[in-house]
């Protein structure tokens, strides 16, 4: 499970009301998911993406506990045998299959997942990901985050741009324990959509009313605009 604290974090408090909502962020991610992709959505904000994927996009959702073809939450008659990685009762879509754990992670580790979307505590400008532990002295829980981070063909992160205390989550080097090195290719925050490039973060898009300078002031490492 790609569980992170970001899922529980309240939206960052900004001096202004500038910024996208979580639904906006989910819509934005959904727009970039290609037709026919197989996608694993992590716990927290990433699960919201499922609500914005049109059926004609033919996206297959994978849940690492053994479902290929996850459907929405049941409207009635929930079957407690059908749960997702967050242990929520879900449904399966026509054409779905059940798989055991070794096969489910062969799908992940064998490079058969087109995209993994995860929450994170921090992402570094080289694509390093920290999303599994903040303090290794407390009982840690890694789940499938490390497998997804190295196994998925693309790894996108969805998270609030800064912590509740206002500290940047996009950093020069992660302070928290790493989940994987140089794996994140794109980050969707409430303030911007950024690509991870050999030259660091490039802001593809910013929330309406936000200047690059204002975005930079909330980011712990240089952010470039695509034209630079």
């Amino acid at each position: 499970m790609a569980t992170t604290g970001s899922g529980a974090a309240a939206p960052a408090s900004h001096a202004t009301s500038i910024g996208w909502t979580r639904a906006d962020m989910a819509r934005r991610v959904a727009r970039d998911i290609g037709r026919g992709w197989t996608v694993n959505l992590g716990i927290g904000i990433p699960t919201l993406v499922a609500d914005h994927l049109p059926a004609e996009r033919c996206v297959t959702l994978h849940s690492e506990n053994g479902i290929l073809g996850v459907g929405p939450k049941p409207e009635s008659d929930p079957d407690p045998w059908i749960i997702n990685a967050g242990k929520e009762v879900v449904t399966v879509v026509p054409g779905a299959s059940y798989i055991h754990h070794a096969d489910s992670f062969a799908i992940i580790r064998g490079g058969h997942i087109d995209l993994s979307v995860m929450g994170a505590f921090e992402v570094a400008s080289n694509g390093d990901l920290a999303n599994w532990a903040t303090d290794l002295n407390r009982a840690p829980a890694v789940g499938g985050a490390m497998d997804l981070a190295v196994g998925a063909r693309k790894l996108w992160v969805m998270m609030e741009h800064v912590t509740r205390a206002g500290e940047p989550r996009l950093v020069a080097a992660c302070r928290y324990p790493l989940t994987a090195s140089a794996v994140v290719t794109r980050v969707y925050t409430d303030l911007a959509t950024l690509d991870v490039t050999p030259d660091g973060f490039v802001a593809l898009e910013m929330a309406p009313g936000l200047s690059l300078e204002a975005l930079q002031s909330r980011t712990g490492t240089p952010v470039r605009s695509p034209s630079e």
């Binding site: 499970m1 569980t3 849940s63 690492e64 506990n65 053994g66 479902i67 079957d79 407690p80 045998w81 059908i82 749960i83 242990k87 399966v92 059940y98 798989i99 055991h100 754990h101 070794a102 489910s104 992670f105 062969a106 992940i108 580790r109 290794l136 407390r138 009982a139 840690p140 829980a141 890694v142 789940g143 499938g144 985050a145 490390m146 497998d147 190295v150 196994g151 324990p177 790493l178 989940t179 994987a180 090195s181």
Partner: protein, 253 residues
């Protein structure tokens, strides 16, 4: 035409009633393979001993062999190593086994989850050992054990704290770490349907770790919801062939 699977039974069987062996246990078909039908939990767990390593199937509560866990508690064995995805929730089942002080070491991917109060208390007090394993590495280590592969390299966890002390090699330009096969003395699993050959099917996401654990342990005990009494499971539908299964107990359905 081979007999069809029985109807769905809601999870209401869990809880106090889960120890009840079904009334039909006396009409079990004669076992024809390695697997033997047991008529009570004590028989299913005969021979368990202190200091065993025990794989326990399930992902959260789904596919978890609750009756066998309760039975394991009742045997009184201690100093166990538990290999499972989670480390129990609430104060029942696996959490109760931990709370009773019967577990020396836990090998799992996600010990801290909602309700895992017992594990967290034990861990923070230094009263339990934890080996944290990424979920895919955990299932692959079991698969390797079952397939006779002593160790394998994987990029999962390379460069992280989990890689500390592990051999590192680069393959195709990518850093990988050496992970070893994970065997157990005993696997407790839950399946949906069994037949007289010991073949098993599972239900929905209750499959999870159960089939791979069945390949990786010396003694494999399955609690099943239904035993097929009118023939055999469709060979096309069998997930775990009976050769992996030692003992089967049908739980009240």
């Amino acid at each position: 035409m081979l007999a069809q699977c029985g109807g769905y039974v809601p999870l209401g069987y869990r809880g106090a009633g889960c120890m009840t062996v079904s009334a039909g246990a006396t009409d079990l078909p004669p076992s024809i393979g390695r697997a033997r039908f047991c008529t009570d939990i004590g028989e299913a767990l005969a021979g368990v001993r202190d200091a065993m390593s025990v794989m326990i199937g399930g992902f959260g509560a789904v596919g978890q062999p609750d009756a066998l866990i309760e039975g394991l508690i009742d045997t009184g064995v201690t100093d166990l190593t538990i290999i499972a995805n989670n480390a129990g929730a609430g104060r029942i089942g696996l959490a109760r086994l931990l709370e009773l002080g019967r577990v020396r070491r836990v090998i799992c991917s996600y010990p801290r989850s909602p309700g895992s109060v017992v594990f967290e208390e034990l861990y923070e007090a230094g009263n339990i050992e934890l080996e944290i394993v990424p979920q895919g590495t955990l299932s692959e280590r079991m698969r390797a054990a079952g397939a006779g592969i002593p160790a394998f390299f994987t990029p999962t966890a390379a460069g992280t704290s989990i890689a500390e002390g592990k051999e590192v090699r680069r393959f195709n330009g990518r850093e990988c770490i050496l992970e070893t096969a994970l065997h157990a003395d005993l696997a407790l699993i839950e399946a949906w349907h069994a037949d007289a050959a010991g073949n098993l099917t599972y239900r929905a996401s209750g499959r999870n770790f159960n089939p791979v654990m069945a390949t990786a342990a010396e003694l494999v005990v399955a609690q099943v919801h239904h035993v097929e009494r009118n023939g055999f499971l469709n060979p096309e539908a069998v997930v775990t062939p009976g050769l992996f299964v030692d003992r089967i107990i049908e739980i009240g359905a």
